[in-house]
């Protein structure tokens, strides 16, 4: 196994015509832990990773593996394993797909059955990839990253399209890699998707860094809040206003800036409003994430309530 090397992104910008996809981005990813690279769709995650891997030219700034750009790595697949999208030639089998790139990278073809076994594709290895499910494609993309037994892993949305069993599997997979001292960078547009897998987070929005730290530090950022809902939301809104409580409209009710559900319940009681839900928001992570990336539904208070875009996105993605 190769050693884990830090990923270093310094002052990185990428413009596509008039559009700025990545804007003066700097961060470091250390070995020995799983780092989540988070941000909404279109935040610039994939562009950043493609620049890092030498597939897209940076407009300015650098992205290196311990100081060496990808294109200058003497043995790239033995240094970095990258899975960017699960695209393959549909007429080629998984085994042949991996053999082609083992040859190209000068790796022994004996690695191919080993990595197929590792990702659980051994029994489908001689089937054409055109018949694979999205989950199987994701596993094949991971098999490719393992070919050179590298010290650094760069995975773009690897959980997308996996079934629950696959998600459990990849959590263990990522943690195992990190515990072996490798550098693991995993992107996702959903914090909830990776929050059980990652130790650190790098959050970007509109191409800019908005947060960098441990997962725990993100949790601390968000004060606990209360969720409350009523069959009569208008009346509930009035009652909360009367009690002087700040709140945002969410999909499953109002998110009130008040850690104590009892005070929210009291306000509803005073206003004579029937409640259908009242509980403390257990983890403020997702809300903290959404407010960081500027996608909080409460950005425009007073708008029609039942729109909480991010969670419905989440359902669409699964």
């Amino acid at each position: 196994m190769a050693d884990g090397i830090p990923i270093e992104i310094t002052g990185l910008s990428k413009h596509f015509g008039a559009v700025t996809a990545v804007d003066d981005l700097s961060f470091t990813v250390e070995p020995g832990r799983v780092t989540g690279f988070l941000g909404p769709n279109g935040a610039g995650k994939t562009t950043t990773l493609r620049v890092l891997l030498g597939l897209v030219h940076a407009s300015s700034g650098t992205a290196t593996f311990g100081g060496t750009p990808y294109r200058a790595l003497p043995r790239p697949l033995e240094t970095v394993g990258a899975a960017l999208d699960a695209n393959f030639h549909p007429g080629r089998t998984a085994r042949n797909h991996l053999r082609v790139y083992a040859t190209a990278a000068g790796l022994p073809s004996a690695r191919v059955p080993v990595v197929l076994e590792q990702v659980g594709l051994a029994e489908f290895a001689d089937r054409r990839v055109g018949g694979y499910s999205l989950g199987m494609r994701q596993r094949l993309a991971l098999a490719y990253t393992l070919l050179g037994d590298p010290g650094v892993f760069v995975l773009d949305e690897p959980i997308n399209g996996l079934d629950p069993e696959g998600i459990r599997w990849i959590r263990v997979f990522l943690q195992t890699l990190a515990r072996e001292g490798r550098t693991v960078l995993v992107s996702s547009h959903l914090l909830s998707e990776v929050q059980q897998s990652v130790d650190e987070v790098v959050i970007i929005s509109r191409g800019r860094l908005v947060k960098r730290g441990t997962l725990a530090s993100l949790e601390l950022d968000s004060a606990p809040r209360t969720i409350v809902d009523s069959p009569d939301r208008a009346a509930l809104a009035t009652a909360l206003d009367d009690a002087g409580l700040e709140y945002d409209a969410g999909r499953s009710g109002f998110i009130v800036d008040e850690p104590d559900p009892a005070r929210v319940g009291h306000a509803a009681f005073v206003g004579g409003v029937e409640l259908s839900a009242l509980h403390r928001l257990k983890s403020g992570l997702e809300e903290s994430f959404l407010s960081l990336v500027g996608e909080e539904p409460g950005d425009e208070p007073g708008e029609a309530p039942p729109v909480d875009e991010a969670p419905s996105d989440e359902e669409g993605a699964r």
Binding site: T47, L53, R92, A105
Partner: protein, 275 residues
């Protein structure tokens, strides 16, 4: 070292999908039909000139040697197959987005493209061997069936076969050049079919009507290819009296087209961002 790894990977890419043998089968069937079928017809005409005359058929020019004409069908009509295979080798990388794993495994893009070019020269030569095996086999059978000369005891015939295989190899390289210039697979296939089947035959005919344009028309790739091989049904149906290029000039024209298109594509589309 890294070039030979890339070359090995390109051959594996070629041999692990069905396209190459699909095109090889089509080539063999097409050539067998043309060389064998027309071989039988012409042989019959040549052997029974009296029976042929009342049917209104135009008699063949007396000085035409039938054997090389029939054999050269392998490249004079078959060149579209290495051209397609070469173009698909590049465009399928764009279409199926496999440039990502390709450039991750070997970030030296020029090396990858050079390996593609060389692999398609070789693949084109293999298609040439298949095409000539079929054209010589079927046409010689037809000729000898009517008691005509097969020319297989002549070194000229074998030199023609060798030049024909070289032409097929060069067409494979031109396919790579076309594919890297026109990366859209559908567009590349349409261009190959439209150019080889309609546009170039018309251009060659139109160019031959005037001595000045005929001098330019000799450099059209299909004309250069026929010049390289040294025989073609085009030369029989010869329009105008302009001399074709020498065989080596024809070969250099094809090689120049292959290298120039690949180099231009390599400096443009091949260097672009892969997303």
């Amino acid at each position: 070292m890294t070039f030979f790894r890339a070359l090995g990977a390109e051959f594996q890419k070629l041999l692990t999908t069905r396209m190459w043998w699909l095109l090889a089968i089509l080539l063999a069937a097409y050539v067998a039909f043309m060389a064998g079928g027309l071989g039988a017809l012409f042989s019959w005409l040549a052997a029974n000139p009296d029976a042929a005359a009342p049917s209104g058929g135009t008699p063949l020019p007396a000085d035409v040697e039938l054997a090389p004409l029939l054999y050269s069908f392998a490249s004079s009509i078959g060149y579209v197959f290495p051209l397609l295979l070469g173009a698909l080798a590049v465009t399928s990388e764009f279409r199926h987005k496999t440039l990502t794993p390709t450039f991750l495994a070997d970030p030296h893009r020029t090396v990858v493209l050079s390996a593609k070019l060389v692999s398609q020269f070789i693949a084109g030569a293999v298609l040439g061997v298949i095409g000539y095996a079929v054209s010589v086999g079927s046409a010689a059978a037809a000729l000898s069936g009517f008691g005509l000369e097969t020319g297989l005891d002549s070194s000229d015939t074998w030199a023609l076969i060798g030049r024909g295989i070289l032409a097929m190899a060069l067409w494979g390289g031109i396919g790579v050049g076309l594919g890297v210039l026109v990366t859209n697979q559908v567009a590349a296939v349409v261009i190959v079919i439209a150019f080889t089947q309609f546009l170039e035959p018309i251009l060659r005919f139109a160019a031959s009507l005037n001595d000045v344009t005929a001098a330019v028309g000799r450099y059209l790739p299909g004309a250069a290819s026929d010049a390289l091989v040294g025989a073609s049904f085009y030369t029989v149906a010869s329009f105008g009296g302009t001399e074709a290029l020498d065989w080596w000039q024809g070969g250099l024209v094809l090689l120049a087209i292959a290298l120039a298109t690949t180099a231009i594509g390599g400096a443009t589309t091949w260097r672009r961002d892969v997303s």
